[in-house]
Structure formats: structure tokens, C-alpha cells
């Protein structure tokens, strides 16, 4: 767990890159039909991954609201992942097309807020792509470990 923050060091100081020991906290929004299934498949295939992600299930990626994403950052997420079905595969025809459009907006706002681009990522993962899901979590975790905790993370939060 994040020991430097828990020691009461200010968020600024805590933002110094951490290498070992520290596990980032990543909020991953997954749609019920594809990417959540992909996370299940990662489990079934025993594709090991860092214990950094916390999955929140919604029915479709189209339900993922900027409100949810920015709240996650304000609450202390080191990264937020927006995931869904591959384009064309959305269970509800085209919810993910709308996610794609919304994501552009999310990226801009995140940029304005000074959130590094690695901290907000979009990925389409099908229900069978367990290995892809695991690799995604591993890659993002690596990137965030290099960056260290999010600058928006409130002090004292793990």
C-alpha cells in the first residue's frame, strides 16, 4: 500500500515517482457484455496481473459518465480506464460509438486539469480477450508506477 501518503506526507511530495512497493489504484469501468467478460476470461485463464484495478460494472460503456470518471480522480484514482466492446460489437448497437465521442471530451478536460494522458485510457476488449485485459492492466500499472500517485489524489487516501 501507499506508505508515503499514509505517513502524512503532502500530496505534492507524494507525487514523486514511486518504484517498488507502491501499487497504484486504478478504477476500471467495464461494460457487462464485453470488457467485464474479458476480465472474467482473464481470471479463467489465470492471467496474472497487478492487484491495482478495481472494476465497476455498467451495462454498456455508453453509461460511463464524465461525472463518474472525474469523481474517480477526485476521490484518488491514479488512473481511470474506460472500456467496452469493440466498435461494431456493442450489445446495444452503438453505445460505444457514443463512448468514443464522449472520450474525446474527457481527454480534453483531463488535459485541462493537468492529468497526464497515461492516467486516462480507453480500450475495447471483447469477452474472450482475457490475456489482452491482463496485459492492459499490467501496462497501465507500469506506466502509472513510473508517474507516481495522481496529483489530484487527496492526502491520506489509499
Amino acid at each position: 500500500m501507499n506508505d508515503s501518503i499514509s505517513d502524512g506526507i503532502s500530496a505534492e511530495a507524494a507525487a514523486a515517482p514511486k518504484t517498488d512497493g507502491w501499487e497504484p489504484k486504478i478504477v476500471a469501468f467495464c461494460c457487462n457484455w464485453c470488457s467485464y467478460g474479458g476480465a472474467d476470461s482473464a481470471g479463467m485463464g489465470r492471467f496474472q496481473q497487478p492487484a491495482s484495478a478495481r472494476i465497476i460494472r455498467v451495462m454498456c460503456s455508453g453509461r460511463i459518465d464524465p461525472l463518474h470518471v472525474f469523481n474517480a480522480f477526485l476521490e484518488g484514482a491514479d488512473a481511470v480506464l474506460v472500456t467496452g466492446c469493440h466498435i461494431g460489437d456493442c450489445h446495444y448497437v452503438n453505445g460505444n460509438d457514443k463512448t468514443k465521442i464522449k472520450y474525446k471530451y474527457l481527454e480534453n478536460v483531463a488535459h485541462e486539469l493537468g492529468i497526464e494522458k497515461e492516467r486516462l485510457q480507453l480500450n475495447w476488449i471483447s469477452a474472450s480477450e482475457g490475456e489482452k485485459f491482463a496485459n492492459f492492466i499490467r501496462d497501465v500499472t507500469e506506466q502509472i508506477k513510473k508517474l507516481g500517485p495522481s496529483p489530484l489524489k487527496p492526502a491520506g487516501v489509499v
Binding site: S6, K25, A51, S126
Partner: protein, 669 residues
């Protein structure tokens, strides 16, 4: 089972119905979870959260005793919210919803937390981190559960008609079984004849009986069954609706002749001057531009291939029934069905682009499918296997297994049938012409079912040679056109240089061209092999994640004929549950407009792919038509006023999870 927190009992229960009384049931899933996550520590921690009245750890929460534990605790602690931390809601949510509903709780008061697939299974070597993560995940679930609201699942009527897409042996079986149970079946086949792959084989393993002799009568049975309407040379163009009530648009491609007049006499083909490679024969030999697909075709009707037609009109003159109509246009039928069975089959891996083992470079290398046609008495050579370069009958025949299968460069999965069909093909030629010499180059021989190992032994006894190894070099002798192969015999540990008159590639099973379209029309998922995905690989092998849609045969993974036929029957049986009950239960999760907040801006209306949001013109407010809403929640994010909410996934419910990903760590001063 062990109760971690249970000091309070019924007598002290507050009567305030608004008070959230949460019970948390942590499953060990044998050692699947318990072997990694410290469930006792998790339960202890969760027990300290406000509102949690009891926590319990079970070896198997889904077992009879596990469920009884939940039910007795609901009673004892007067619980009104239940959190189950176990495997995936995708497989087990219905079980626990039913469990709490039996105790009079609304089924939507269940919150399901995945601490197996998303935790213990993926952090097997990090027990502490997995335990901490499980605490977070369950805390998120507990806080969300407190905000859950009761919902009503709705019942929808089921039209007692079925659509079967694909008339291979699997789809035909589904259609026959459903028809025999008395249901109307529409059997849609994209080719001019039903029958699928099996209609092309000479004989079929493991018993080597004549393929068309067993398939032909079945095809006729399908045609004669008064409950089956065959729609050949037709495709599904659009699917709308949901379980019990699918509206489907079928396109009938023009055959350029009136099928009610055509008798299948093939007089038209006799006079047609155009010859094109015969696809049914894998391109060997030719057919005419107007042709009857094959002698046993069902329906036995000609079809005109407009692309190759030169418009000489000879066929129109030859047709005694005046069936030909050159101006025919596609026509359409709209169907309303309660269930859909997808049996769209497969195609074989194409070795041409990569020139696998020299295919496409050298004449005398053919695929197994091509070999099947050459072996077939009704095939292009009347059953004589000849080599393409000089039409001579080969003596030395080499077979290469696993082409396009079990190979990182192509497909990693095993196609399941190639060992057996290669064994069959070698046997059949050996039996026909005992002077032939056969070498099967394999990686492993897989013969798992009844009669398969026996068939393998039979080929060995016949003298078929088995060589464990893959060709590393394939060349053609420029003069003889023989195929020269360098292969390591991995059992003997030596390099062998072999020469064959003909070499046959056992190409694997890959998705059919149209599979992407079918996948999107039916809203299915694809598995890693590119074929369609079932709801559960073990317990729901023919169901899909879409209620009312089922899969049979090679459409959902490589299979042999007995397996494909069993799945065809299984689909019929699963579908009958809906068709016979005439009703289906659908999710209660929908979008809801709060009329007090809605300003009638209509931003949400185009967001909905199902046209479920309509304006209430009188009130000037949006209104969600529950029967049409599928509950994706996409419209909700578009609403600028917050008037729209998605039940069970309300903002507050999602944000409760977001907030509880984190916790405040007390600072030791």
C-alpha cells in the same frame, strides 16, 4: 460456515424500514478464493462497516447449505440487502437473486461482488494484495447495496415460432426437432441448397459410412416436414426486438427463375455455353452459369449465376416450364419469431495466401476438402483421386496435419476433426487402391471419442504410416512435379527426405465469411478463435448472452458431426422451454425520466438506438417506453438536467462504488 459478526439478534432489530441492514456472504469457492484471499480477515473487516449486520464465510456459497445460510441470516438479522462476494455475476447472479427472492426480498437487493475471476485467480501469488483488494471490492459492493432500489422483472410473451440460420447438419437437426415438437420453423440457408459441408464428403468417420446416404434422407425429411419452411439462397438482413419477439428481415436472393415452375431437370444447364470452376467441387471441374447445385440438392431447383451469365437466353428457350426470369429482383420476408438458432457453420483455413507447405506454389499439393471431392464418387473425377499436374493416380501420398491449427502464426487452437478426417481419407484411398502408400505427418494424434481410436488402429493395420514431425522444407521436382519433403522424424530423432506424388493439407476450421455480420445482427460475442461465443463453456454450451438466441455446430467452435447434431438437438430443447411456456422473463433495468426535472430538450431521444424515448407532447417531457428500453444507460449520460436515470445503475449507486474504491488511512501521529 462461520459468522464473524452476529451479536445483534432479531429482538434488537430496529423497525425502521429505511434502515439498511446488509448481510455479506464471502465465498471461498473451495480453494479458488480461500486459497489466496484471507476470507476470515476480509469478513472481519467488512463486519466493521456501518450497516453490515452480519458477515458469513462459506466454502461454497452457491451450494444448498450456502444458500440456506443466506436465507436463515436474512430471517435472523432481518436483512434487507444481501452482498455475495464470490465468482462472476455473469454466471451466478440469477442463483442468488432467486435465493433472496424466496425470502421475500426484491431480487434487485442483491449485490454481487467478483472476488474470484477479478481477484484470487489473477493474483495467485500476491495473497496480501489480493486480500486488500477483496476488502475494497466488497466495501464498494456494500455501499452500493445500500442504495439499491426494488425493481420488477417483466414478463414478455413469446411467439411460438423459431428461426434457424444455417442449414448444415446442426441447423437441420434443430429445425427437425422443433418441427416435430409442433413449432413452426423458418430455416434460412444462404446457399441454393441445404446440407452444409457434410453434403460434400464422400464418407464420414469414424464408421466411414457414405455421407450423402445418411444426410440425403435427412434433407428430404426437412423439405417434407410441414412445420419447416426452407428459405434457401436467403440471408438475414436485419434483426430487431428481443427474446420472444424478434422481428427479422430475410432477403431472398434472385435465382432468376421461378422456383414454383422449375422442376430441377437441368435442361437449362445442358444448353448453357458458359463454364466456370465448380465451387461445390472446391474448384475442380466446371459447372454452367445456370446449374442445379448438386444431384441431391434440396430444394432441387436450378440457380442462375448472373455474374457469369452472358445473357444468350439459351436457357430460357430450353426450359420447358418457362421458369426463367432474367429480371428477377431480390425479395424480402418479414418474420416474427420467439427464438433464433444460429448454426452458420465454418469454412476451412485457406493456405493460399501464406503458401503453407507450398500450397498454391506447386500443383500437387491440395487441401483435404479438395481430396474429399476427389474421393467422392459423385465428384469431379468419379471418385478417382488424381493429382492436378497430370491427372495421374498417385501412389505415394503425404498428409500434413494441423495446417492452420495449433500454430502461433495462424491459429493456436486445435480444430478437433483433422486427425480423424486425415485418418479416414488415408484409409479410404488405401482401401480403394491397396497399392498406394500413405504417410501422415502429425504433431499429435487426437482420437477421443467412441470408435475413433479404433479407426486410428485400423489405418495402422492397413499400413498407413504415421510420422511425428512437421515438414521443414517442401519442394517440387521440376520434371516429375513430385513433392519433395524434408521432415524431422521426432520419434526416431532423424531427418527424413521423402518424395510424394501428391500431398494433402489437413486445413483447420475457421469462421465463415458472414460470421461477423451474424454476430452483429444477433449481438453476440466472438471467442478467441473468431467463432461465436456461448454463454458458458461448460454449463450453457448452446445458450448465448442474448436471451432467446442459441448456437449449434461449428458456428461456436470446431466440432465433428455427432457433436454438431447433439448441439442441434440441444438448441431445440433449450428453445422449447421458451416456446412452450409462451413467456420469458426480462430484466427490470431500464432508463427512467423524472418528469419534474426534465425540460423537454430532447437531447436524449437520438441517443437511444432502440427509439425507446418518446416525447410526451402534452406535458413537454420525455418518456421512456419500458418495453422498448434495453437498459444500456447511454441516454442517461446525455441528459443535461439529470432527469434521466438508469435503474440499478443510478449515478448515486455508481458513485458509491467509485468513492469506496478508496479509503482514508488513519495517520499515526
Amino acid at each position: 460456515m462461520s459468522d464473524i459478526k452476529g451479536t445483534e439478534n432479531k429482538s434488537t432489530v430496529a423497525k425502521d424500514s429505511d434502515e439498511k441492514r446488509v448481510g455479506v456472504f464471502v465465498c471461498e469457492c473451495g480453494v479458488n478464493i480461500g486459497g489466496v484471499v484471507n476470507t476470515k480477515a476480509v469478513a472481519e473487516y467488512i463486519g466493521t462497516l456501518p450497516g453490515v449486520k452480519v458477515t458469513s464465510v462459506n466454502k461454497f456459497t452457491c451450494s444448498d447449505s450456502g444458500q440456506a445460510d443466506i436465507q436463515s441470516k436474512i430471517k435472523e438479522y432481518n436483512l434487507n440487502r444481501v452482498v455475495v462476494a464470490a465468482c462472476s455475476p455473469k454466471t451466478h447472479e440469477p442463483t442468488f437473486r432467486a435465493c433472496i427472492e424466496q425470502m421475500g426480498l426484491n431480487q434487485y437487493f442483491l449485490e454481487f461482488v467478483n472476488i474470484r475471476d477479478h481477484c484470487s485467480w489473477i493474483h495467485m501469488w500476491e495473497k496480501e494484495k489480493a486480500t486488500e483488494k477483496a476488502k475494497d471490492l466488497i466495501r464498494m459492493g456494500v455501499e452500493r447495496s445500500k442504495l439499491l432500489e426494488p425493481l420488477q422483472a417483466s414478463e414478455v410473451p413469446v411467439t411460438d415460432k423459431a428461426l434457424v440460420v444455417g442449414a448444415g447438419v446442426a441447423g437441420m437437426q434443430s429445425a427437425l426437432d422443433l418441427a416435430d415438437m409442433g413449432f413452426q420453423v423458418y430455416l434460412v440457408e444462404k446457399e441454393p441448397s441445404i446440407g452444409g459441408r457434410m453434403a460434400r464428403f464422400d464418407k464420414v468417420f469414424p464408421t466411414n459410412d457414405c455421407s450423402i446416404c445418411i444426410l440425403g434422407p435427412k434433407m428430404v425429411e426437412v423439405a417434407r416436414n410441414k412445420n419447416i419452411k426452407i428459405m434457401s439462397y436467403s440471408e438475414v438482413k436485419a434483426v430487431d426486438g428481443y427474446v420472444g419477439n424478434f422481428n427479422v428481415k430475410i432477403e431472398h436472393k434472385p435465382r432468376y427463375l421461378d422456383v414454383t415452375k422449375c422442376t430441377g431437370c437441368a435442361k437449362c444447364s445442358e444448353v448453357c455455353p458458359v463454364e466456370v470452376p465448380y465451387d461445390f467441387n472446391e474448384g475442380f471441374g466446371t459447372r454452367k452459369a445456370i446449374y442445379v447445385p448438386f444431384p441431391q440438392a434440396v430444394p432441387l431447383r436450378a440457380v442462375l449465376d448472373k455474374e457469369n451469365c452472358i445473357n444468350c437466353k439459351a436457357c430460357a428457350k430450353a426450359c420447358q416450364s418457362g421458369a426463367i426470369n432474367y429480371d428477377m429482383q431480390p425479395s424480402y420476408t418479414d418474420l416474427n419469431v420467439g427464438v433464433i438458432i444460429g448454426a452458420v457453420g465454418f469454412k476451412t483455413y485457406d493456405p493460399e495466401p501464406r503458401h503453407d507447405f507450398g500450397y498454391g506454389l506447386y500443383d500437387n499439393i491440395i487441401t483435404a476438402m479438395e481430396f474429399e471431392r476427389l474421393l467422392n464418387a459423385a465428384g469431379p473425377t468419379g471418385g478417382h483421386v488424381v493429382r492436378p499436374s497430370d491427372c495421374k493416380e498417385p501412389i505415394r501420398v503425404g498428409f500434413v496435419n494441423c495446417v492452420g491449427s495449433r500454430d502461433k502464426a495462424t491459429n493456436i487452437y486445435c480444430s478437433g476433426v483433422c486427425c480423424m478426417y486425415t485418418i479416414k481419407n488415408a484409409q479410404l484411398l488405401k482401401e480403394k487402391r491397396p497399392e498406394t502408400d500413405h504417410t501422415i505427418m502429425y504433431m499429435d494424434i487426437r482420437t477421443p471419442f467412441r470408435g475413433y481410436e479404433e479407426s486410428y488402429n485400423r489405418s495402422r493395420n492397413l499400413g498407413v504410416k504415421f510420422l511425428r514431425g512437421r515438414p521443414v522444407e517442401v519442394k517440387e521436382d521440376p520434371v516429375t512435379k513430385n513433392i519433395k519433403v524434408r521432415v524431422e522424424d521426432t520419434l526416431a530423432g532423424e531427418i527424413r527426405n521423402l518424395e510424394f506424388d501428391l500431398m494433402v493439407l489437413a486445413t483447420g476450421i475457421v469462421p465463415n465469411e458472414g460470421i461477423g455480420q451474424i454476430q452483429q445482427l444477433l449481438k453476440l460475442s466472438k471467442a478467441a478463435d473468431g467463432l461465436l461465443m456461448e454463454a458458458h463453456p461448460k454449463l450453457k454450451p448452446v445458450d448465448t448472452t442474448i436471451d432467446g438466441v442459441f448456437l449449434a455446430g461449428c458456428a461456436s467452435g470446431p466440432k465433428d458431426i455427432p457433436y454438431a447434431v447433439s448441439q442441434g438437438s440441444a438448441c431445440a430443447s433449450r428453445a422449447t422451454i421458451l416456446l412452450k411456456n409462451k413467456k420469458a422473463i426480462t430484466e427490470g433495468i431500464t432508463a427512467v425520466v423524472n418528469p419534474d426535472v426534465c425540460v423537454g430538450c430532447q437531447v436524449c431521444i437520438p441517443m437511444c438506438p432502440f427509439q425507446a424515448i418518446k416525447m410526451d407532447e402534452k406535458e413537454g417531457r420525455a418518456n421512456v417506453v419500458k418495453a422498448l428500453c434495453k437498459g444500456c444507460g447511454t441516454c442517461v449520460t446525455a441528459c443535461p438536467t439529470g432527469a434521466l436515470e438508469q435503474s440499478h445503475f443510478k449515478n448515486a449507486q455508481i458513485l458509491a462504488q467509485v468513492k469506496n474504491v478508496f479509503r482514508f488511512q488513519e495517520v499515526a501521529v
